[in-house]
């Protein structure tokens, strides 16, 4: 029972990271029709930004303060990087979806290579508050504390995104844009500002996933972005392209499936996720047309 509980919480923690990446992907796709391959690069930039600042802040304040400060910088760097990518690379290719995808592909290759060139292939570590490395006993299971943070972060982002989309003017424009972009433009609203905004939001969420993955896997390395991105793709397809709630449900399912199968059948959890995707596609191809934010 305690093992099951541990697997469940760990699976939810993993799912939380998938959600942080997938929500941005899904939002960007829903509004702009862009498959953002560079989303993994946003994650990498956020994680390395955090690591870099943390390594330069030696001796200032407590570990907790240093970590929070560097994580904040990492998030801002990820968000700004994403907004710049939209402004400089995506916007000039407006409505040319295939070229936009290809540009993000090139960007993801170049970013990972650059990070490898500057900081090497080795895994990097950053100091995090000791509490995150300890465990909490729940129902007989010793749960690593960082899992709670992952889950809480994902729930907050989900609630925040939902509230933002529902109650703010920009949220309204984004929802309307997902529904019918041409009509929103015809009403005289500049949708392009919303484009930059969703990229920035997506970049922030991905950078947050980067910071958290540095704790979850207890290291930061150049390839992490791409490997998490692939699972985020699976999540987005299962959950329905463009649907935030769908992504949330799918990331929980994928994270849990991966953990359970990994434990009960000697490490084929990753393959089971691809199998799950195949089954979903065979059973319900209709989900893919889902386009509600």
């Amino acid at each position: 029972m305690s093992t099951f509980l541990l697997l469940t919480i760990t699976g939810l923690g993993l799912g939380a990271m998938y959600f942080l990446v997938a929500s941005g992907l899904s939002l960007i796709y829903g509004l702009m029709g862009v498959l953002n391959f560079a989303h993994g690069a946003f994650l990498t930039v956020g994680a390395y930004g955090t690591w870099f600042v943390e390594s330069k802040l030696g001796g200032i304040g407590s570990v907790t303060l240093r970590f929070l400060l560097s994580a904040l910088v990492g998030l801002v760097v990820g968000g700004v990087f994403a907004a710049l990518v939209e402004l400089v690379l995506i916007r000039p290719l407006y409505l040319r979806h295939i070229e936009q995808v290809l540009v993000t592909v090139g960007l993801s290759l170049a970013t990972v290579a650059l990070v490898q060139g500057i900081w090497g292939n080795d895994a990097r570590l950053y100091a995090v508050p000791g509490w995150l490395h300890r465990t909490t006993h729940v129902g007989g299971a010793a749960i690593p504390n960082d899992r709670w943070i992952d889950i809480a972060a994902a729930v907050l982002v989900l609630a925040g995104l939902k509230a933002f989309l529902r109650y703010t003017r920009y949220g309204l424009i984004i929802r309307a844009g997902v529904e019918n972009r041409a009509m929103v433009t015809a009403l005289g609203i500049d949708v392009r500002k919303a484009f930059t905004l969703v990229f920035a939001i997506g970049g922030l969420a991905a950078a947050l996933a980067g910071v958290l993955s540095g704790i979850y896997f207890s290291e930061v390395d150049p390839g992490r972005g791409t490997s998490l991105l692939i699972f985020a793709f699976i999540v987005v397809v299962i959950g329905g392209l463009g649907s935030i709630t769908g992504s949330a449900v799918a990331s929980v399912v994928v994270g849990l499936a991966q953990q359970y199968v990994n434990y009960y059948s000697s490490g084929v959890g990753d393959l089971s996720v691809v199998l799950l995707l195949a089954l979903v596609l065979l059973a319900r191809p209709a989900t893919l047309a889902g386009r509600t934010a």
């Binding site: 829903g30 029709g33 000039p92 979806h97 019918n180 041409a182 699976i234 990753d270």
Partner: protein
């Protein structure tokens, strides 16, 4: 018609010249690792030719049918790993191993294509990537010690035809690779001019309209998918011989992206373009490592040195520039009129008219 004949004559002449490369005793300065006839150069050129062919097999899907697959590396890897495992782990003869590889190379894309083609456009890209990822995981899991995991799997030379083994036989490998590239070129050239080939290009231009005509588009797309994959599988076998076995780097998502870069660089939806793009890309990738380690680059200040010593950074940036400023790729440079230069933009329709895809408000 005369233009076509002229093209064919030039093509035959180029293949003829290429066939004589192993007989040429001179080098090309810093461009090549040694004289043209040296084993090092021949092996590099052989792999360039293999990637030229594999890139063209990918263009059959992407450029001619409008299918953006992110999983083409998987079918190449099937060729590399199945043939290698059959000769090395199971001790089969090379001919039997090739038959087995061909069978797997037909069944795997047929099944995966059948499932993936339930989606289209961007979702298809994501799903094919997921399947390719499953292939990579499988290789890394190293079931029964067959794939060798991260270490790769060197082939057992006793079960490989003697003509392809050893440094002195590198010229045979080169000719084999040249033959492979020529065969892929001829097959793709024939296929895109055949009746299914016309349907593929019609699907690329406007899938819904083809559907309305009563043509089962999914079946035709599956045909293109299986044919392209089978050609890539064959390339995998040749590659396995060229590099003496299998290495897991060809199963990564980066490898599929590399094929995409090769095609776009050369010219999407053309025959010559991807072959040139594939060969040039690999050549640049390999030689940039040498240039990156050279004295000239190493003596630059760090701000310039670090990016320049990373081939993938240079090629990634180059790729972005090509997408922006040269959508027709290398093939678009020489093409007359706007049609030739459209390249990538010709694919736009395939992504706008696909059912269940965003951008319909455009």
């Amino acid at each position: 018609m005369t233009r076509q004949r002229l093209g064919a004559a030039v093509g035959v002449a180029i293949v003829f010249v290429l066939a004589f490369v192993p007989k040429l005793g001179f080098g090309l300065g810093a461009l090549l690792p040694g004289a043209l006839s040296s084993p090092g150069t021949l092996q590099l050129l052989a792999v360039c030719l293999v990637f030229g062919g594999v890139a063209l097999s990918y263009d059959l899907l992407f450029g001619f049918t409008g299918l953006l697959s992110f999983g083409h590396a998987l079918y190449f890897a099937v060729g590399v790993y199945v043939s290698d495992i059959a000769v090395t782990r199971w001790g089969w003869s090379f001919a039997t191993a090739c038959l087995m590889t061909a069978a797997v190379g037909l069944v795997v894309p047929a099944v995966i294509g059948w499932i993936s083609l339930r989606t289209s456009g961007i979702a298809f890209a994501m799903v094919t990537l997921a399947f390719a990822q499953a292939g990579q995981i499988l290789v890394q899991k190293n079931p029964r010690g067959w794939t060798g995991g991260d270490d790769g799997l060197g082939y057992d030379y006793q079960h490989v035809p003697a003509a392809f083994v050893g440094v002195f036989n590198t010229k045979n490998l080169y000719w084999l690779a040249l033959g492979y590239a020529v065969v892929v070129f001829l097959v793709v050239a024939w296929a895109v001019r055949s009746s299914p080939g016309h349907v593929w290009q019609a699907i690329r231009e406007n899938e819904r309209r083809v559907e309305v005509l009563g043509i089962p588009t999914r079946r035709y797309k599956l045909l293109a998918f299986v044919l392209g994959s089978l050609l890539a599988t064959a390339g995998g076998v040749v590659y396995m011989l060229c590099v003496n076995g299998a290495n897991p780097s060809i199963t990564t998502p980066d490898f599929t992206l590399m094929l995409l870069v090769m095609v776009v660089l050369g010219g999407t939806g053309t025959l010559w373009g991807p072959v040139i793009g594939g060969a040039l890309y690999w050549f640049a990738d390999q030689r940039l490592i040498a240039v990156g380690g050279s004295h000239a680059v190493q003596s630059l200040p760090g701000v310039l040195r670090t990016p320049l010593s990373q081939p993938l950074f240079v090629l990634g940036v180059l790729f972005i520039l090509v997408v922006f400023f040269l959508p027709g790729g290398i093939a678009g440079l020489g093409a007359r009129g706007r049609a030739g230069r459209r390249g990538l933009r010709r694919l736009e329709a395939a992504f706008r008219s696909s059912p269940g895809l965003g951008g319909e408000g455009a």
